[in-house]
Assembly symmetry: D2
Homo-oligomer: 352 residues x 4
Amino acid sequence: MSLRVAILGANGYGGSGLIRRLRRHPAVGTLALGSRSLAGRPVTEAWPHLAGLLEGTFTASEEALEGADVAFLATPHGATAPWVAAALDAGARVVDLSADSRLDPDTYRTWYGQHPHPETWEACRYGLVEAHRDELPGARVVAAPGCNATAVSLALLPLASARLLGEDPACTVVTGASGAGRAPAQPLHFSELDGNARAYKPAGTHRHLAEIEATLGRAAEQGRALRTHVPYHPHRVSLTPHLAPMTRGILATCTTRLTRDADQDALFELYEAHYANDPMVHVQEALPDTKAVAGSDRALVSLRVDPRDGRVSTFCVIDNLGKGAAGQAVQGFNVAFSHPETTALEMEAPWP
Amino acid sequence: MSLRVAILGANGYGGSGLIRRLRRHPAVGTLALGSRSLAGRPVTEAWPHLAGLLEGTFTASEEALEGADVAFLATPHGATAPWVAAALDAGARVVDLSADSRLDPDTYRTWYGQHPHPETWEACRYGLVEAHRDELPGARVVAAPGCNATAVSLALLPLASARLLGEDPACTVVTGASGAGRAPAQPLHFSELDGNARAYKPAGTHRHLAEIEATLGRAAEQGRALRTHVPYHPHRVSLTPHLAPMTRGILATCTTRLTRDADQDALFELYEAHYANDPMVHVQEALPDTKAVAGSDRALVSLRVDPRDGRVSTFCVIDNLGKGAAGQAVQGFNVAFSHPETTALEMEAPWP
Amino acid sequence: MSLRVAILGANGYGGSGLIRRLRRHPAVGTLALGSRSLAGRPVTEAWPHLAGLLEGTFTASEEALEGADVAFLATPHGATAPWVAAALDAGARVVDLSADSRLDPDTYRTWYGQHPHPETWEACRYGLVEAHRDELPGARVVAAPGCNATAVSLALLPLASARLLGEDPACTVVTGASGAGRAPAQPLHFSELDGNARAYKPAGTHRHLAEIEATLGRAAEQGRALRTHVPYHPHRVSLTPHLAPMTRGILATCTTRLTRDADQDALFELYEAHYANDPMVHVQEALPDTKAVAGSDRALVSLRVDPRDGRVSTFCVIDNLGKGAAGQAVQGFNVAFSHPETTALEMEAPWP
Amino acid sequence: MSLRVAILGANGYGGSGLIRRLRRHPAVGTLALGSRSLAGRPVTEAWPHLAGLLEGTFTASEEALEGADVAFLATPHGATAPWVAAALDAGARVVDLSADSRLDPDTYRTWYGQHPHPETWEACRYGLVEAHRDELPGARVVAAPGCNATAVSLALLPLASARLLGEDPACTVVTGASGAGRAPAQPLHFSELDGNARAYKPAGTHRHLAEIEATLGRAAEQGRALRTHVPYHPHRVSLTPHLAPMTRGILATCTTRLTRDADQDALFELYEAHYANDPMVHVQEALPDTKAVAGSDRALVSLRVDPRDGRVSTFCVIDNLGKGAAGQAVQGFNVAFSHPETTALEMEAPWP
């Protein structure tokens, strides 16, 4: 198989990760790099790390899409849905890294506003491979999950699938700056963020809540093999993201009561069993470091039970640009196209 | 007044902050700098920032204490209690930055092991000035609270004092590296912590829980003017600290149900009223940055109500070495000795 | 004395440092904060660290200048000269942090283009206090030196004044991000600068060269008490600045041959003697840390002789926003207005 | 070919990089991980990023060497020479990342003290592939160059080989913390290095000078294909290393006069031609970022001529743990064993 592949938004951080992985993917024949703002400019103008390695130029998005078998869309939400529709019309398949293919039109409207192309929803499959693996082969649109949603969902999925997850888990996330993208903005200015931590979008305002509550709600009803299009009841969670002075990494900490008592060992076994066949998730005793997955597409998961009250805290680290973006997108692509699941993925972070 | 003041542990980060503040304190006459490991060595050997400003040497701890009117103890828990006892015996008053004067001997034993000098407890007053101001004047031992305990307590005190605090608030803390002290340790090595975040001591294992639960428990029963020696019922909380790649700063995020409904405006007014007379605490609408208090002894507090379920998230930022250590110690000293409360404190962080 | 003082550009990093120092300066009566972009907006909108401490608003620049006795100009070069002229016309005195008052109009034209108000030059005195102290009292315009120029000049001045400085010293500077100001720009984006170092404006293109070469040239001819308006021959140097992932700090390293042999001890004595009466410069054996002056207005200077070839490397660290900007401006103001030189300056960095 | 390969010092940062590259090297059959301090312990105890990927334990160094065809030695200088001797005695070939195989015994003694096994020198070839490629095939001991030596040498080699390099180039290096290794040490403590830059080992005291001066001296006499064992005259340079708050990366800046005039374009062509056949070195117009090679084994080189005086500044960035350590070692191994030169090397840094 030798696919014609297009990346839109190839000048953003999602694009950088896709270029890295798809350049070495054995199924990728040609790779067109679309960028609205840098069309016609050398790729190395955006990406100094590719100097001497990749000599081409960015093309306009329309041009990049022409004749593509697969389109990876690393463009902003709202602006992406029209590209999904256009790609489907042209007979291409899509891996969408934006929010535009993740939610049914009603839920989307609640969190993002009116969806510009609700007709694409039917073609979409939610691309959290660990939960939706069975329905992804053949998918016309793989919706790569949000980075915070990935970390929180992986931290709580085994509890949800086992119907152990109590009401109102309190989830926090510590996240690096690259999740906010590459566009200059004062809060992301080095001098402002260095030595600084702050919460943002707390108290029910972060849009990734929609995905998290859908995934956990589905898991409670559907068990382990989730279906995007089966109706579900959201499982309410609280989410507080925190920005920390690091470039990559998400650490999700989720504290919850259980629906029935379970000790540390039983829960650890439950988690290990849940993820036993997931090559990109590792369950471990040690509390995980974000640095252990920086540059990698893996997730590390751990948990602790509070002996004083039986509440459990579960932990998940990912690289927001790896398992949280490009890595997850390629993982979803692999399953959708029946390549081996880990093809072209990053397994090992380059510590330190 | 011209006091003879001693600092023990003057070669640690707590000591560095005490030197800075006490050198300019108008009530301080002489300042002896005690250090076990560096006795006899120039102060600038430990503190490059004092080169050209402070030409003396460290003295042995015993020597530093001799003839002191006040002893600031910035030494490790367990090792500090004997110094408290010795100082009291010698007629000196004490500001203890360690954990050894914060908890009654029974509670101490639960969290730290047998207290070596339980007889000192009667002389101790818990030095969270905002809650214990009324009982501090004249105190023989001011117990400066732990850094995480300070941030979490300030975030929740107004709710607790108003009996609004629900069961089992879920508290997380994002903290900088300097809280772990100056001694080299592999997890604090630059190459290991740079670009890294991890949770530590979660699920009921962090010792600051004892202080937090005592303060919140007292507030529920005693209201606004807390007494160290009145029996109390701890208010159970969950605490997950996270280490982030920054030197200074603690951001506490506490998510809780309320005992009765209250909206954002009412809670904000409650917080503003609670801290109206506290010069070192500022309540603000904007979500606070740790950098806004780096190098300062102030706390910034904010809150948000989740409109979806009425849960409230409260936020507090401090500098762990300012309001979380040396600043708070000097604030307690000021009140205990009836100096103006803000004497020699740092008000303004030097952004950026 | 109770001066009416205006700061223009009060929403930039230079402005932040000026606010901090001038708020506590005993000679400052009123302080007007001018900002073109934020006129009418609360000061805390720009400066989170002032929340609860400073409740006013920014004013338009013209308004801030009205009735001012002294104007501190922390505005961009080119745009500042008109404010200098206007302030002088209105009878105010000026401390100019921009480049517009540092160079004679001919030299200015070479490096920055045509000077818009060459008539102001006569009123200007170059504000490197350590070299120009004698001519600053009464100055109508104090030209605060550039940050890199300050560090390199202080590293080499004793050699130049002693006519020991050889030809073509090779100077490099490692500098933090805040020197580039607060405006968002992609190379200063956290995700781009974190973990990154790069050279910029090398090979004779950095404009601070004009000041450095003037100062060293004057020193060779005038000795220790330099005069701004006496003609001089520039002393050619090479300068390579490097941006490093830190917020504050400049480390200048200057390697040069000497005009005659001198050993380490002799040079160290020369440096100590040269700066013996300079309260803001400390000469030390130990190689200096930028962190030892972060937040401070001092400079630390050291040197080493290469025993293999007699070349000497001299070192100077400053905080680019302290001795390199606001601190130096206030120091120059103090001398120009005959206040004690260190009034309201930051002496001690808050390590760590 | 299926080699039995041992890594000694596999628990250090050099070891981490070797594990990453050699695990995927097609010629490596078995990989023994030797560690003196962690023998018998799980590899993941040292390396959290390998959790779930590599389940083995470290072995004692002697055991790791047994039966090895090739030994990679990432152990400290002085302690490594005996392992070189032992490996050669056992018939193994060696890639030595320490300083012990880089210098002839006389030069070694000057910089490091008496060499414990001078008899090994005859078997050594200096492993800067770009300069010594022709003599490496079949080498019994490949001496991987020091990280600073690599950056400075690559920055100046084309000038030296063309006999353009003037006297006494002034070289500075900005380097990250990982070059100092993983052992905890106070100057490398996060709270001490964060926000800090300092010079270290200036003025002729850094031991990498011996290698740099040898390489440049050989190039002036031997041209492009250097020989380790041909006598040479060192080319004297000045070197000032600076530690900056980043984990990976070296930026070398070298400023020098030329022996004859040459303009920017001619020099750029010279550099491009010099490195035209070197897959791990890229010559570019843009001033290079260390981040562009973080995690990569490539070097980026650039230069600028000062139009004012004809001095040239040349720049080279590498990852000190990539081209500066494990990457270079594997590159040397590849050439010595006649594998394709870039086998198992990291080409593309994962920006950001």
